[in-house]
């Protein structure tokens, strides 16, 4: 999952990014509105954490331009503006959630998980595929009641495919959603991860559609 955090307070931006990376997200950061808007329009994110009071372009404007461009990416507004009028305005402008500072990091992470899940049409926090169970909250995969140890990147790959179960996911899309802008990605990195996952979960866990991408059924 790839998340964009737009926040002009550097210490806050750093801690949110760190927490999200710890959770296995690929995180892009933007310290002002201009950068944030550019990134939000250029990439497909699974969620955007957006501050409202930003230099250059403010959060309202970013949200407005995104929605006008028919981007459906879930947006969570993270702001110190706690007035009811602002919450209403934020949600009505197309935001999916509204969190006021100071916030609880655990709550913020849970809300981002929920946003990502909902966005692909899952209400529950577990996904069951045959005898395999993904716990999106604990970020674990169990097969036959046994926890399979996966690296964060491997888990992220499985999670993404599981959330888009039944759909062929292209390699480009996987790259876009699993690697942040700062990650050095090699062209065959994805193949390495897929091969490792197959070793751990069984060969039939991920199917390859040559020329199209990967699929989990």
């Amino acid at each position: 999952m790839r998340v964009l955090v737009v926040e002009d307070e550097p210490d806050l931006l750093a801690s949110i990014a760190r927490a999200l990376r710890d959770e296995g997200y690929a995180v892009d950061i933007a310290a002002d509105g201009e950068d944030g808007l550019f990134k939000a329009e250029s990439w497909e994110y699974d969620a955007i954490v957006l501050d409202l009071m930003l230099p250059a372009v403010d959060g309202w404007e970013i949200l407005r331009r995104l929605r006008r461009a028919n981007k459906t990416v879930p947006v969570l507004i993270l702001t110190a503006r706690d007035a009811v009028a602002d919450r209403v305005r934020g949600l009505d402008s197309g935001a999916d959630d509204y969190v006021t500072k100071p916030f609880d990091l655990a709550e913020l992470l849970a809300r981002i998980r929920a946003l990502v899940r909902r966005h692909v049409g899952h209400a529950r926090s577990t996904i069951e595929i045959r005898d395999m169970v993904l716990d999106l909250r604990a970020r674990t995969v169990t097969r036959g009641g046994r926890v399979i140890p996966l690296t964060p990147r491997e888990y992220a790959l499985v999670e993404y495919l599981a959330l888009h179960r039944g759909k062929v996911v292209s390699r480009t899309e996987l790259y876009d959603h699993l690697f942040g802008e700062d990650d050095d990605t090699l062209s065959n990195l994805l193949d390495v991860h897929v091969s490792n996952i197959r070793k751990k979960l069984g060969h039939d866990a991920i199917q390859t559609r040559r020329g199209h991408g990967y699929l989990m059924e």
Binding site: D11, R18, P55, A80, R81, K101, P102, F103
Partner: protein, 577 residues
């Protein structure tokens, strides 16, 4: 008194109607009595004319006439009856039924009544009757009756009704009486003879009655019209009041944008509306500023707290390296410092707003306070490679030294922060006849004209975002402005974009002090080490300049500053306070 309408409009209406009714009644009754008076006077004149003619005929013949000449008509009580006399109850009370004495008989016909004495000038009377008493219309006819000394009718005109005999009293002279529908003059002639001349007044009474009705109808009509006009007028007059009331109600119920529609500003209500609108504007502005200030303050306070929370939570989520811990702790320290700075600035503002400290003013040598501030900020300026251009002439003012220090530090800090590297800061103090002047000029970015009117507003930042690199919250100039205004001074800013800005503070000069006291001018007892001006420096220079200008350093220097003020601590001198 619940039935009295409370509405101003209806009360006005009620009073108006009542007053109009009184005026109309007074007018109508005056008009009526004038007309009636004239009518009766006219009738009386007619009667009197006939009376005179009769007397003239009778005088030479009636026996026992007094020895004065016939040319003396004033042997009778002279003059026509008084206008008010018809109303007077002159009628003898002894004749309620107006029954005629038996010897008179009913309506004696013809000029010669029964027992008329032969001395009567019958021919002359006949002629007179033909001239003056004959009329075709009996309802307004004149008549006369001549009574003898015994009350017996000697002669009467043909139309004469049954007239009651005159009073027999010797003192009776004359009487004007109105009875039934006639008006009569009764007068004792001489030797007991009495003449009654009268007129049937049906027509006159009917005329007067009609007049009464006409007047009543006209007055009612005018009254109704007046009420309608009054209602229209009061409605018109009261409409602005209602508009004001409804506007005030809308504002009271939350629609702060409501304003009284003002069509003209000449009338009292127009002026009131304009004044109210101006008041509403100011209130809304104050409210908006307050709301904005609260929002800004909460925003500024929440952000560092959010940093501390998220940093600690994310760092504690699992085991980290020492470098990561250090980084998180530094972030927390920055946030905490910003919080401290913000809280202190807000407290300074709050105290200023509450009007505190005004009693702690004393005579202050402005140039020394500024010199202290320059010393405090010199390391910071050095890091920006800035040059000082100092022209500190003696300038004494009556002020709170601590607050003045805030002003100097904030202005200088601003000049440093917004300067270009290698620029200059020009500081000047001096005195004019009535003012002391502090001027701080930089060679920096300048301020955009759009921002210029707002730079003294709290939390105002030209770039609309948190230029957080140095922890500025946008309170420094607001504090400066508040302090200067609290001292009755003024602050001006002149700025050219990309050339620099010049802030000029003017304060009232301290006068009336002997030069003896000048020895220790800055010596109010307010200074306490460690709880002083760094609070109001609107930046957190330590975040970017760990060397030399750490906040602790600021504090230490503060204390140094206060110690430099001669006699500040414990000397007991209070500059004559």
């Amino acid at each position: 008194m619940n039935w009295v309408p409370r509405s101003l409009r209806w009360r006005l209406q009620l009073w108006y109607a009542a007053w109009l009714a009184v005026v109309l009644a007074a007018f109508s009754s005056t008009a009526y009595s004038l007309v009636r008076h004239n009518r009766w006077r006219h009738v009386d004149e007619e009667i009197e004319r006939r009376f005179a003619a009769l007397t003239a005929v009778l005088r030479p013949t009636v026996p026992g006439r007094p020895p004065f000449g016939p040319g003396r008509p004033d042997l009778l009580p002279p003059g026509p009856p008084k206008p008010s006399s018809p109303r007077e109850p002159r009628e003898p009370p002894s004749n309620p039924d107006r029954r005629l004495p038996p010897e008179v008989g009913a309506h004696p016909r013809g000029p010669h009544a029964e027992g008329s004495p032969n001395w009567l000038p019958t021919a002359a009377l006949d002629a007179l009757e033909l001239n003056l008493f004959k009329t075709r219309r009996t309802e307004s006819a004149f008549y006369y009756v001549l009574f003898g000394p015994g009350g017996n009718v000697l002669r009467s005109s043909p139309e004469a009704p049954a007239v009651s005999p005159p009073p027999t009293s010797d003192h009776f002279r004359d009487q004007v009486r109105q009875l039934d529908r006639r008006r009569e003059h009764v007068r004792r002639l001489w030797a007991g003879f009495t003449l009654t001349v009268g007129k049937f007044a049906d027509a006159d009474l009917r005329e007067l009655e009609r007049l009464r009705w006409v007047l009543a109808a006209a007055a009612s009509g005018v009254w109704l019209l007046g009420i309608l006009g009054g209602a229209w007028l009061t409605g018109r007059m009261i409409r602005p009041v209602e508009r004001i009331a409804s506007t005030a109600q809308r504002i009271a119920s939350g629609d702060l944008s409501a304003r009284v529609p003002v069509t003209e500003t000449e009338s009292e209500l127009g002026r009131l509306a304009a004044t109210l609108n101006a008041t509403f504007d100011r209130l809304c502005e104050t409210l908006a500023r307050q709301v904005r200030f609260t929002a800004d303050a909460s925003h500024e306070l929440r952000t560092p707290v959010a940093v501390v929370l998220s940093q600690t939570e994310s760092i504690l989520a699992r085991e980290r390296s020492a470098a990561e811990y250090r980084e998180a702790l530094e972030a927390c320290r920055r946030a905490a410092r910003r919080l401290r700075h913000l809280v202190e600035s807000l407290l300074v503002l709050a105290r200023l707003d509450a009007g505190a400290n005004s009693e702690e003013r004393c005579r202050v040598r402005l140039e020394r306070v500024v010199a202290d501030a320059i010393e405090l900020l010199r390391p910071l300026a050095q890091q920006h490679e800035l040059q000082w251009e100092l022209d500190l002439q003696p300038a004494e003012c009556w002020a709170n030294a601590e607050q003045l220090f805030h002003v100097a530090v904030n202005l200088l800090d601003n000049a440093i922060h917004y300067n270009r590297s290698g620029g200059t800061i020009a500081v000047r103090t001096g005195e004019t006849d009535s003012q002391v002047v502090l001027e701080v000029a930089d060679t920096g970015l300048g301020i955009a004209p759009d921002d210029l009117p707002h730079i003294f507003e709290r939390f105002y930042r030209a770039d609309k975002s948190r230029a957080r690199m140095d922890g500025r919250a946008g309170l420094g100039l607001a504090i400066v402005d508040t302090i200067v205004r609290a001292h009755g001074g003024t602050i001006e800013v002149h700025s050219v974009p990309n050339e620099g800005s010049r802030f000029t503070v003017r304060l009232g000069r301290a006068i009336g002090w002997t030069s003896r006291a000048d020895e220790n001018p800055v010596n109010c007892e307010v200074v306490e080490p460690g709880c002083k001006p760094a609070a109001a420096v609107d930046n957190e220079s330590s975040t970017s300049q760990p060397k030399g200008c750490d906040h602790e350093n600021l504090d230490r220097r503060d204390s140094g500053v206060t110690r430099q003020q001669p006699g500040a601590m414990g000397s007991g001198e209070k500059a004559g306070l």
